[in-house]
Symmetry: C2
Subunit: 419 residues, 2 copies
Amino acid sequence: MLQQRSLRLLSSLSQRATRPAATSVAASLRCRTERPYSIHADASVGTTIKDIEPSKLSITRTTTPKALLPPEELVFGRNFSDHMLSLEWTASEGWLPGRITPYQNLSLDPATCVFHYAFECFEGMKAYKDKNGGIRLFRPEKNMARLNKSSARIALPTFDGDALIELISKFLKVDERFIPDARGYSLYLRPTMIGTQRTLGVGPPASALLYVIASPVGPYYPTGFKAVSLEATDYAVRAWPGGVGDKKLGANYAPCIVPQMQAASRGFHQNLWLFGEEEYVTEVGTMNLFAAIKNKETGQPELLTAPLDGTILEGVTRDSVLALARERLEPKGWKVLERKFTMKELADAADEGRMMEVFGAGTAAIVSPVRRISWKGRLVDCGLAENEECGPITGQVKDWMEAIQYGDEEHPWSYKVPE
Amino acid sequence: MLQQRSLRLLSSLSQRATRPAATSVAASLRCRTERPYSIHADASVGTTIKDIEPSKLSITRTTTPKALLPPEELVFGRNFSDHMLSLEWTASEGWLPGRITPYQNLSLDPATCVFHYAFECFEGMKAYKDKNGGIRLFRPEKNMARLNKSSARIALPTFDGDALIELISKFLKVDERFIPDARGYSLYLRPTMIGTQRTLGVGPPASALLYVIASPVGPYYPTGFKAVSLEATDYAVRAWPGGVGDKKLGANYAPCIVPQMQAASRGFHQNLWLFGEEEYVTEVGTMNLFAAIKNKETGQPELLTAPLDGTILEGVTRDSVLALARERLEPKGWKVLERKFTMKELADAADEGRMMEVFGAGTAAIVSPVRRISWKGRLVDCGLAENEECGPITGQVKDWMEAIQYGDEEHPWSYKVPE
């Protein structure tokens, strides 16, 4: 069966390949840190000898196409389309020609560095069907930029983002039938880069694999658009200034599962990561967090989210929500703020009747309304009425985002995949 | 060719497997944190339905045995023995029977969670040939305990450490000819556990693979037993209180490469991780760090290493060096201390003629003498004379450790693999 054939990597030669000296390197490393940590701005790593050349793409179509699942049976990231896009990289040659092949297993030596040292980073993005049957992506250049930042931070190669968008577009045309044609549904794309060097020495990988798989999805939360309850986590810390919490590295995810399970065991959907003695609100589970509260002094409504200080993921949805809110809420008297805020501020707002609403924001869910947050033995109410599953701003943001994502509203953020 | 056949996982069924509720879980999670972070001690995760049963081991021998490399051509973690030991785990069945098979590729779905969320942890340990031709392991129960702590922290399964030692012993008998018979040489063992669930949802893996591969090795540093120079890293942070820096997770390694490359680009062998405003010395590259200095007040010689506060790896070599030093140096007037110490303390000791020696400690190198440390634009001299590559305590520690590891000195730490 073709689907079960393993993808053998050309880079098996890389066992003997040597990495060029660090002086020949190109991509820029930015370690976001805060005082008192000194900033080392001009450091650079990564290398690209030959960049991605979309014209060299080869396509091998499956001979055993899958049946499409009915939309109601779709579960996030469980079923995949017929094909995958793969590109290999070696330190000596750079990016080898891209290949669209049947979706298939990877065949990797057990000493491959991705299994031992977490040389892995990824992106989450979606393809949407618009009302004319066209295929849309949402700000794909942001995902490409972030993947490059993530990969450079762990000594994996960087690449030309526009070239990868071109290849992803071709991949989408090949697997177009897997993009569900219904609001709220999409084809989730998972660009992934892994180090493939087959040695145990701890050093920069001399070979890598970039691949993209695609999973047709409905709403992320199986319960549908229902408000979630969060548990504030103070006994474990997700990220730290000078760490890598702002990069989309595999390394940031596995350590989050146990606190998530702990929260789940006490009846909460997700955990909320606090930071420091001050208990700053950083992010929730795998999403950024927004809070709408009325200013204590002025009563002015404010939309708050944590700043990009190196301890939170630089979410594309976060950035989009901020931009839309600045454009569309500020004229209505809102203030939109990226600033540090504490769990106590949220609790005070709730106690004083100033809490309006709270929501998570991320690619998988777009927005996820929050009903309450467990913190220090109390439940902080996030402003929803008992029979309400979503506040007005949260719902507004979702509608704005979807209108752009599905192409109902023409907007520069919506990228049309060429016919 | 048998060696190139891919190891197909039985757990391919796990795509549909569901994880038991968090309430049925067993292994203990200990999040080491420091004040002001509150400690959550009784949390538990992980599950073991059926534990490892050594009697069910199956052995399939290679039909194409490899030629042995001459000792001088051995490079750490580059060449492997003929076989590997593998055990699969599923949430519904527990540990399936272990298999010794020819060394071969793993065949994994590209959606497998190890590629996306760094569900991976490992151990480093060595097998030695003693003077009677017997096979020895060094404190293997410590590695088993640590692997269990690592795996539980990322929601991977735990296991009976004694049972895995029994299987590793059988594996060593099968590949005995790969254990080099010379002082300083050994067969490096790499027990590795990865999550194998084939879905993109961020949650506890319902299947996992534990495997052990073996690489005959000489000295870790290709330059031999030569003193290294370190660069103190203050612009990036390896670990933090409440994080996972004390576990042997893949997640702790990839983010370290760029600072290591930065140090290398300026001519240093490794980087030294500092922590916090105080610039506490934590660990060096992939080793723990020891410093021998004379007490400022009393002149008494002290052997210092950072305490197990959650920000450093709980090294088996570190623990062994501490125990040996307490037993054998304290009667000679030394003080052996696990305490926080700063880079400034080291610099002051150097300036005031109180610096004796500094060395790294880890399984790969045992000890690695340090000549100097670059810090804030100066070079802190670590006490070696210009023509010296190793201080007396460093050399003493290495001799003590090797005498036990190779079985010259009978010691409870040396585990004899049954004939």
